[in-house]
Symmetry: C2
């Protein structure tokens, strides 16, 4: 089961990396951008046929290691790929 | 127009960050994971109503700044959000 975990800063949390990207793009001529955010995407395969179980385990991984629940939020997407 | 850019290492390129994540998860008891990859996701809004133009501009941003074409590949997804 393929699991795609996307981790982004919560709204309102300062995101200096995204600001730097926005400014760099601005100086390259991309001056009509708004709401630039930057996150992490982790893709992995879990050996199970149970979609709910894959999602549950991915949430556990986020809480234990991948995401910082104070400032980050995560989304989990499960695909039926083997 | 909302644009979501996902940048991942090309297959075969060494990804030490993903390896570290995989090992950390393993030591936390998640021992049935495979093919862990780690990428960046950049979300931004471009002021245009033209989906093709938004996609074209996002590709230009990737080539100019966001992605390293030698070792990374990018995917662009355009959504009709204002």
């Amino acid at each position: 089961m393929q699991v795609i975990i996307t981790i982004n800063k919560k709204p309102g949390v300062l995101d200096p990396e995204a600001q730097a990207v926005k400014q760099s793009l601005f100086s390259l001529g991309f001056d009509d951008l708004e709401n630039v955010t930057m996150g992490k995407q982790i893709t992995l395969f879990i050996e199970t046929d149970d979609q709910e179980r894959a999602k549950y385990r991915a949430a556990k991984m986020c809480e234990a290691l991948l995401a910082n629940a104070v400032i980050e939020e995560y989304k989990i997407q499960v695909n039926e790929l083997s």
